[in-house]
Amino acid sequence: MHYFSKIGGACFGTTGMSICSILSGLVLSLCSNSVIAEELKPDRSRVSPKGVHSFSQPAANMPLMRRLDFSVGNSFFRNPWVAAPASTDARDGLGPLFNTNACQNCHIKDGRGHLPHGDSDNAVSLLLRLNVAGAKDIPMDAPNKADPIYGGQLQDFALPGLAAEGQISIRYEEKTIELADGSQRQLRKPIFSIRDLAYGPLHEHTTISARIAPAMVGLGLLEAIPKTRLRALADPEDRDQDGISGRINAVWDIKKQSLQAGRFGWKAGQPSLEQQNAGAFNGDMGIRSSLFPNENCTTRQKACADMAERGDLKKLEVSDNILEQITFYTRNLAVPKRRKPNDKEVVAGEAIFERLGCSGCHTPEHNTAEDYPLSWLAASRIAPYTDLLLHDMGPELADDSQEFIAQGNEWRTPPLWGLGMIREVNGVEALLHDGRARDAEEAILWHGGEGAQANARYRQLNKSEREQLLAFLYDL
């Protein structure tokens, strides 16, 4: 029963409502929300799946007149940025150092990135974060102590005349897992290293954290979950003793000049979509904005700074106007509708999801804020299956990388909506932060720390129960 008291959101589900009313005498404070729930509209933003384009559609209830902004945002998200100066004036400013030249190259078809398919493939849709482990005296507005030479991220491309910082090498450690019924699973763990370092060695305590680009759908709705809701879900001391202690990341909000709840990124290191986007422009493409006005060269990379100075440093490379359009686009990419939510197997799988405790972190439902600026996304009942909180995921997934209060073993619960469409859009799934899990089952089997108990329970399931759970997950 404690799952329901933990998630709260179940009060708003169609099935949850009845449970909610039964429990109303026991957990009155949580279920009083159901009064508000009646005034909420269901989430009408979701769209019918559309094959490989399933992650590329605007919210179904976005006003038609806003398609102009959506299209403009889409084009700046999709089309490659070029080196300045160029005839493509509004899209110049790439580099000097960068990981890629267009958002879409990592968020492939507005979906996920992947690990390279073999030696001859590139590593464009993943990146490596760098930070000095165990560093002290980190300023309030910095996520961590970046590598003194290479900065917070390895850029594996550079404009002509400048050396790329290095190249990503990957090897895999394989291991075999045995489930309770004796069947076996092969897991792979990617081990990342950097070759061809062009600016000298890394700091001796610099750690490497690989990040796969996640799918872009439903982000506006996640942004619209009220902060009060996150606070209600957070349980840093694990007072309810369910073994799950979600923490809200406290991250620097550049516009507000204060610490705010983190929501976006694998460690919830960004407070808003706008800042997430501007940060990606800067870190991944070397593009300056009003939020990130400096090139991503460190003080030790003089050639990079010199090259940047040859351009017009007074002029922002992505204007506020275009950043706003891109942010509008990313707020409105819609989550595909579920295909068979009433299928018997799927419904059975949903019950197993609850029983295993998955919903302890993958919170099924939330209500979006009434005052979210995009009215069509406001005051809606949504089902992202995340609490946006940080959880200890155990040593196997830990990477010693810090991001504000998030420690190496802590990761933000990724939303599960859209999970079942990833393979159709992207060909492969590449789940978890470094893309190691080739399907949802492997992702479950990697869960440690606060997720260890759910993982252990999963391994006890028989074959048909496992299939039911996966049928549910892939229906999301």
Binding site: R67, S71, S75, N101
Partner: protein, 424 residues
């Protein structure tokens, strides 16, 4: 150019004739409007097919004896084929059968390095795009990650399978723009005057071949024009009233309100998101010929104009066929006039206004003295060009507002694709 003067005249004439005809005619039913819409779609796709077949004839003639004149007439045939096709795009949004199909015919922008040789440094390909420098024409196999793809025989099927290779939308191997690139070559003039100028010798088999692999370039051009015809034949069938189980039958079996919703959603989406947004505003804001719709041929002005005309066709129910015949029947206007005559006229005026603005883009590109094509109008600092394009954008926005009002008046409150799939 050919259609220019005729269109301007046609607009005013048909505005007047429609009006009197409709006030006298008996009230059309919503069902008859959706049915006429299907007839319109069929006629427009049939014209697209006929002009594509003429293009194929011109290409075959050119390839049988490559010459500068032969290339010119193939280019002229390509431009003529765009006239009906661009008018067909209003059917794309709202009708899944078209939307799911059209990428193979009209996807853009494309990384031309996928198809053929390119001038190094002439444009920025997508990083990580495995196809960006694949040069299918020069290579009989492609290495893609761990897989090797056999491209020895350039069949329509093979080319179709290479679209969106590796998940990149810029990998466009087929359709009008691939053929356009083969006929014109890269436009290396940026925002300065001039279109692509591929030498006809790129298609000479044997020693006089320029650009290398001429045999394969010829094969590529043949295969891509054949695929275009195959695809258009499929779509003509989808709207053919003599076929029992096609999309037309499916559409007509739905409630008329659902049909109207698809029609209006298609008009609004093309008007605003696609034409005003992707094709005008994006190109203007980026100042980039890379965002120009018909960037190799510099035929963009006509593409835009006929997109706009296509929207108007659905509204008025009128369409001028490629052979000059006129198809007319009850459009949305005929239905609206019975509900709200003032609104019906306002919608038409808004469409006439946007047509006039788009006509100015045509005039600018086609005038004899120092013409300015679309890729010059979007150049940074060309304030006159920006003004012209912005006028089109504003008129299309205003027109879309009118389309929304028309929808409301017909009982459709929220135009969106998913509503278009469900009853209200």
């Amino acid at each position: 150019m050919f259609f220019k003067s005729r269109c301007v005249v046609a607009l005013s004439v048909c505005a007047a004739s429609l009006f009197s005809a409709q006030t006298l005619a008996e009230k059309p039913s919503a069902e008859s409007v959706v049915q006429h819409y299907s007839d319109l779609a069929h006629a427009i796709y049939e014209d697209s097919l006929l002009t594509a077949q003429q293009l194929q004839v011109a290409i075959d003639e050119f390839l049988s004896k490559p010459s500068a004149e032969g290339l010119l007439s193939a280019k002229a045939a390509w431009k003529a084929a765009r006239v009906p096709y661009q008018q067909s795009e209003v059917f794309r949004f709202g009708n899944p059968v078209v939307d799911d199909w059209e990428g193979q015919l009209n996807a853009w922008p494309l990384d031309e390095g996928l198809i053929d040789y390119v001038e190094q440094g002439s444009y920025q390909a997508e990083l990580g795009n495995v196809g960006a420098n694949a040069n299918i024409i020069a290579n009989t196999s492609l290495q893609l990650g761990a897989n090797t793809l056999d491209t020895q025989k350039l069949t329509p099927e093979l080319l179709a399978s290479l679209n969106e290779l590796g998940g990149s939308e810029a990998n466009v191997a087929t359709g009008y723009h691939a053929i356009e690139f083969l006929l014109w070559g890269q436009d290396l003039n940026g925002t300065a005057p001039g279109a692509g100028s591929r030498p006809f010798t790129d298609f000479i088999a044997g020693d006089a071949c320029t650009g290398g692999a001429c045999e394969r370039r010829r094969e590529y051009l043949r295969a891509s024009s054949q695929l275009l015809i195959d695809d258009l034949q499929y779509m003509v069938k989808q709207w053919d009233k003599t076929v029992a189980d096609n999309y037309r039958a499916e559409l007509l079996a739905m409630s008329a309100k659902r049909g109207l919703s698809r029609m209006l959603f298609g008009m609004g989406s093309l008007s605003l998101g696609e034409l005003a947004g992707e094709r005008l505003k994006v190109a203007l804001e980026a100042n980039s010929p890379e965002d120009e719709h018909d960037c190799f041929s510099d035929n963009t002005h006509y593409s835009h104009f006929y997109n706009g005309l296509g929207i108007r066709n659905v509204y008025t129910g009128e369409y001028q066929r490629s052979d000059g015949r006129r198809l007319s029947g009850p459009g949305i206007m005929a239905l609206l006039v019975t509900k709200d005559e003032t609104l019906a006229n306002n919608v038409l005026s808004s469409m006439n206004k946007s047509q006039a603005s788009l006509q100015k883009l045509v005039d600018s590109a086609e005038r004899k003295d120092s013409p300015e094509a679309f890729d010059q109008l979007i150049a940074e600092g060309n304030t006159r060009g920006a003004k012209l394009i912005n006028a089109s954008i504003q008129d299309l926005v205003a027109q879309t507002q009118q389309i929304e009002l028309a929808a409301k008046s017909l009982g459709i409150d929220n135009l969106n694709p998913d509503n278009a799939d469900h009853d209200f």
